[in-house]
């Protein structure tokens, strides 16, 4: 099937098999390997992207469903090799160790801050509930998001 998808502001036209998951389309067809596959069952959030502005797990959608959609992945955050404010806050607050969860965590945090510029700690924790981190214990991630908020 032919699909047209806008990813990080660039429009791609591709022929995809309907059985192809969106995460594989993004990683393997578009070579945007920032988004990760952790569990492949909708539980870990490593594959989180923004889909028409909504945070979604891209292992739980088919690429063909995204025909006509506007997608943002973690690659959309930095520009000209400079980290954006949220990424810089993650770095400053040691909000990552192995980094596997980070692309998804950043996109959930971005979704949260897009909808709520000054979240409380409870709202931050609820905002990243769908993203599992095995390393940090979350404390520094919450600190980083707090620092990036207004």
């Amino acid at each position: 099937m032919n699909i047209t998808v806008t990813v990080n502001g660039e429009t791609y036209e591709r022929d995809v098999d309907p059985r192809r998951l969106l995460i594989h389309f993004i990683r393997d067809d578009l070579d945007l390997t920032g988004s990760h596959v952790g569990c492949d069952t909708g539980n870990c959030g490593a594959c989180t992207i923004l889909y028409n502005g909504d945070a979604v797990k891209s292992c739980m959608l088919l690429a063909v469903q995204a025909d006509g959609a506007k997608i943002e992945t973690v690659e959309s955050l930095s520009a000209n090799g400079e980290l954006d404010g949220l990424q810089q806050a993650f770095s400053d607050h040691h909000a990552l160790q192995c980094g596997y969860c980070t692309p998804g965590m950043l996109m959930s945090a971005k979704h949260l801050l897009d909808h709520n510029a000054s979240p409380t700690e409870g709202e931050i924790r609820k905002g990243i509930q769908g993203n599992i981190c095995r390393c940090t214990g979350y404390v520094n991630i919450v600190e980083a998001i707090k620092a990036a908020s207004k």
């Binding site: 099937m1 998951l21 959030g45 945070a55 979604v56 797990k57 959930s108 769908g130 993203n131």
Partner: protein
Amino acid sequence: MLLAAVEYARPTSLADALAALGRSENARALAGGQTLINVMKARAAQPDLLVDLADVAELRGISESSGSLEIGAMTTYSQLMDSSDVFGTRPVLSRVAGEIADVQVRNRGTIGGNVCLSDPTNHFPPLMVSMNASFTIVGPSGERTVNAGEFFQGVYITAVEPGELLTKITIPPAQGDGFAAVTIGKDGTCIVNAAATRNGETRFAIGCVGAVPVTSLDDIDPPSDVHGSAEYRRHLAKILVDRAIAEAGG
């Protein structure tokens, strides 16, 4: 994961969606995909055609009139949380939607998919039973309405037959509702849940203790698993029914 080969259609009207479903006995509706995609990954179901309901306008929208709510099957949990018609009339629906899994699942998962799945641990089935909701089902032979007591027929089995679609859920007015659950972690899968609705008398329904929501505490025969023994679930059921009824003001 590579799924088994499947065809895909995205109709833009209810009539076209029904026609597409009629093309194959093994066709399946795709709503939020928050269960169906996993089921296909596990090869527990292998539809040959997915009929994506995303663009079917007739399945969307929420309306309220004299306290009665009509909710389109494709309404997501996030939309239930944000709809002033919903939290203004039946706040428990918005709250329970906000207790399902996480932001990403709530942005995709739909109330129609939640009830059509008829998973005994899902949040909405007991609430639909206590609220005495009615379900509008459309198929090749026309439209019919089924009430919640008859809608849920077994584990993964509802009154929706192959080739049919749930289009909307209608919730009659009431004086108060309650919902209580003990879950595996915050906003996790329910070990037992219970809902209550007061409308003169108070009705309640319990989830996770039988194939479909149960409306009596007598002779319940809950399953035992790593999350709780049958005895523990029986104990929780009594407590959660009390909490739900108290919240409903009954």
